[in-house]
């Protein structure tokens, strides 16, 4: 029997980036806010400190910071004809747990989406005509425009202290920045990070080829910075233990370094860790949330009544919570009806290695999670797709993030996986290889979706989330094109050999790709094709907002965190209006 707790004004389900920002913003209005986090409280000190943090096996290979998959896994299959089976060990993507969520172990790569991304369907149909798209594709407009989001992108970047070089300030192109980017109201808060050798080699080659290189925007900081919340950050030391690790130096923007302390110092904000939310409770009409039910670390069940429920978990868990709570109509790929689980998308990753002579020391271990140089010439719709017969693109860059040797041992194609020749090749190439990354978008399609698994359960007896996903044909054609361009760039970089891996079918759960799982509770202006309105408010339950990459109608070719941050502040502004005058905002 659940113990009924004293009602509060706001409860956030999850205290990662979106939960920490909204928790703080709501508490600042004087509301009583409870943040429920299933994992532990994690802080830079003592949790991310040496010596334990610099352990590749523990954190990168065995994923010590990730969601406890022994209790709560995800099932996966490539298409509806297969039986989904549990992902029994995290590999392809890595949901975090504990305060800060996935923004603890992220790399800090902080992008904005393109102007056209937010009006994707309108833009593509206008430029290429309605018949250009493969019939399985299901792209949509977001219901919010770039211009509307710009102040919120800006606010998020200034919260993070993001290091970069603007390419477009209020429409004026800036030398050294990305000329393709959407306008920004001002320069980045801190200058770009130093360029590593791989980045410099790439810069030279792409300049020769007529492309427009720029430094990767990074929330691993280039210099000390104090954000508008009064929280101070330090300079990144390029230690090479970034993605999959917490930062011991206060140099990587994570909720515990940039926002959570501001919430925690308010007496009307309360963090509760070890709290696994089982469902959002609804009133009789299923039009209003009455709060949430959760189980604490000792197994005790509580009902926490709340006037406003903010679903702020990882994208996949947001979708699962809606399904577990019976909120919104589940998507059916056969009929195309229903919205929860619709338009699940991912990222289409391509890679290349350039193998150099032994005199060229790349020193891959001198890296931050987001040091690197890239081009945006091949991103999104920055080039004419008319003759190419696909939509979407990729940013291409030399984005070397580490040289940790259990997982980083580049060898040319054809090298055996073990034995004397393997060993020679590892020694020969470890310090003399540059990696290119072709970070491609993921087009939403009819057949890719999320729902509840009919068989497998979590430790609380609830169905696991089921992912049905494979790369649409469109995205495979895009990957091949990007791979061809990467080959040309690689050849210009002066190595002895170039190897390219363009993404092929099928999605493989055993190989890391990205943790950029998007969609499933997408935003929009039509309740028939979106689960939340343009303010991220549930169409069905007006005192529920669902915030995260779950709202992306399809995924652009950029890392999602910057856009999740912008949407979070966009929702925060809407919530300020909602609190004054509750009700449907659509």
């Amino acid at each position: 029997m659940a113990t009924r707790l004293k009602p509060v004004d706001v409860v956030t389900v999850g205290v990662g980036m979106t939960g920490a920002i909204l928790g703080k913003e709501m508490a600042a209005l004087g509301l009583k806010v409870v943040g429920l986090e299933r994992g532990p409280q994690l802080d830079t000190v003592p949790d991310f400190q040496s010596p334990n943090m610099h352990d590749e096996l523990r954190f990168a290979v065995r994923k010590a910071l990730m969601q406890d998959n022994t209790k709560e896994a995800v099932t996966a299959r490539n298409n509806s004809d297969q039986t989904a089976l549990p992902i029994r060990r995290w590999d392809s993507f890595l949901p975090g747990t504990g305060t800060g969520g996935a923004m603890v172990h992220w790399n800090g790569q902080t992008y904005r989406f393109q102007v056209a991304d937010f009006i994707y369907k309108t833009h593509i149909e206008k430029r290429y005509g309605k018949k250009f798209l493969d019939p399985d594709l299901q792209i949509q407009d977001w219901g919010v425009t770039y211009d509307e989001l710009e102040p919120h992108y800006d606010r998020f970047e200034y919260l993070c202290g993001t290091s970069g070089k603007a390419g477009n300030i209020k429409g004026k192109i800036q030398a050294g920045g990305n000329p393709f980017e959407g306008w920004r109201s001002r320069e980045y808060p801190t200058p770009p990070m130093k360029e590593h050798y791989a980045g410099a080699l790439f810069r030279k080659a792409v300049t020769n080829l007529g492309y427009h290189p720029f430094p990767q925007p990074s929330s691993n900081l280039s210099q000390p910075y104090t954000n508008p919340e009064g929280l101070s950050m330090q300079t990144c030391s390029f230690c090479g233990f970034c993605e999959r690790f917490g930062c011991e130096h206060y140099a990587k923007s994570s909720p515990q370094t940039i926002i959570l302390p501001a919430a925690l110092k308010m007496s009307n904000y309360e963090l509760r860790t070890g709290c696994q939310v089982l469902r959002i409770n609804l009133d009789k009409d299923k039009k209003k949330a009455t709060g949430v039910t959760y189980v604490d670390a000792a197994g005790r069940e509580f009902e926490q009544p709340a006037d406003l429920v903010l679903l702020t978990a990882f994208s996949l868990n947001n979708v699962r919570m809606l399904l577990l709570s019976g909120i919104g109509k589940p998507y059916d790929p056969k009929t195309g009806e229903g919205v929860v689980g619709r338009n699940y998308a991912y990222q289409t990753m391509n890679s290349a290695q350039i193998f150099y002579d032994e005199s060229v020391n790349i020193n891959p271990f001198m890296a931050s999670g987001s040091s690197g140089t890239l081009i945006d010439d091949l991103s999104g719709d920055n080039f004419d797709h008319g003759p190419l017969k696909f939509i979407g693109g990729a940013y291409v860059g030399a984005i070397n993030t580490n040289g940790r040797p259990i997982e980083y041992r580049p060898t040319p194609p054809g090298t055996p996986k073990w034995g004397a020749d393997w060993k020679k090749a590892v020694v020969r190439h470890y310090n003399h290889t540059v990696n290119l990354n072709g970070h491609g978008g993921s087009t939403a399609s009819r057949q890719n979706y999320l729902d509840l698994d009919p068989t497998y359960k979590d430790a609380w007896g609830l169905p696991l989330l089921r992912i049905t996903f494979d790369f649409p044909d469109n995205d495979i054609r895009m990957a091949r094109y990007i791979g061809d361009q990467m080959k040309k760039i690689g050849e210009e970089m002066g190595g002895k050999q170039v190897a390219v891996q363009a993404r092929e079918k099928s999605w493989n759960t055993t190989v890391y790709q990205t943790t950029h799982n998007t969609g499933g509770a997408v935003m929009g202006t039509d309740p028939k094709t979106s689960a939340v309105n343009r303010y991220l408010q549930s169409w069905d339950v007006s005192n529920l907002f669902v915030v995260g990459a779950s709202a992306f109608p399809q995924n652009s070719c950029y890392n999602p965190t910057g856009t999740v941050g912008a949407l979070t502040y966009w929702a925060a502004e809407a919530l300020k209006r909602y609190v004054k005058s509750p009700g449907a905002m659509g």
């Binding site: 040496s50 610099h54 352990d55 029994r88």
Partner: protein, 265 residues
């Protein structure tokens, strides 16, 4: 210092194989893990990483693998990562010790593995779908191999060993419910981990693999070096478990989580 260092521990791959063949290795007098670092390590701390380390890992105190299993593992890893004229291989790096401790510890018991049924064979893209923990998987497969093999692996010539390992890698054989290729990929993964992970886990003895490839180890602050393009870093690699005297304190059973329990309100 190097030449008189670790004489008691000088133990070539060939010796290891010979001993393994006789089954002696598992019963030799044992050296506790804490004795892995010897007084001379300090002096060695000052040598440059470019010099191959001639020391070999101390004899393993097997706590999980039995003699027969240990003999197989030693013979196998010696071929997966063989020693060469310059650099030791898996034996010299203490990989069998790493594998033994991992299988006997939390990882072997199924740490971070979702273990609920039902159990069904999946597609290759669905990953590992067997009910075995790593410890169960190794034990089951090694037992089946012992029954199936006409000649123990450690009694084969290196060429025969390679061709046997290749047949495991290729797969298609059933090892009492463990597909041979699954066993092989698990063995290869643990071997690579034991060779390249921090020496705190009891492998990568004397940071041999890090010296070999030029990885400076657990600690690095490269802010001042990152834009000095192409420089050669030639420093002693650092283990996370290394004290100021250069002594590495091994701790093979570090949990694969950050905090046990989630903490209450």
């Amino acid at each position: 210092m190097e030449q008189d260092s670790g004489k008691d521990f000088e133990f070539s791959r060939r010796d290891a194989l010979k001993l393994a063949a006789t089954g002696l290795l598992a019963t030799l007098p044992v050296t506790p893990a804490v004795a892995e670092t010897k007084p001379e390590t300090h002096a060695q701390h000052n040598q440059t990483s470019a010099k191959p380390a001639k020391q070999n890992a101390p004899k393993t105190t097997y706590t999980f693998l039995n003699r027969q299993e240990a003999a197989f593992i030693e013979a196998a890893v010696a071929r997966l990562i063989p020693a060469d004229e310059k650099w030791g291989g898996a034996i010299e790096a203490g990989v069998p010790n790493y594998i033994d401790k991992q299988l006997g510890g939390s990882w072997g018991a199924g740490e971070r593995l979702y273990r609920s049924g039902p159990w069904q064979k999946g597609t290759p893209t669905q990953g590992y779908q067997l009910p075995f923990t790593p410890a169960e998987l190794f034990r089951t497969a090694l037992k089946a191999l012992a029954k199936q093999m006409k000649k123990p692996l450690n009694k084969m010539t290196p060429e025969e060993q390679d061709s046997f390992l290749k047949s495991l890698e290729k797969g298609g054989t059933d090892l009492d419910g463990v597909p041979a290729e699954v066993f092989f990929s698990s063995l290869l993964q643990l071997t690579m981990e034991g060779f390249f992970s921090d020496p705190v886990y009891g492998g990568n003895y004397n940071k041999i693999s890090w010296r070999m490839i030029g990885f400076p180890g657990a600690y690095g602050s490269y802010y001042d070096l990152v834009d000095k393009h192409g420089i050669k870093i030639d420093r002693e690699p650092l283990s996370l478990a290394e004290d100021a005297m250069g002594k590495i304190h091994t701790h093979p059973n570090i949990p694969s989580s950050l905090k046990h329990g989630q903490g209450g309100r």
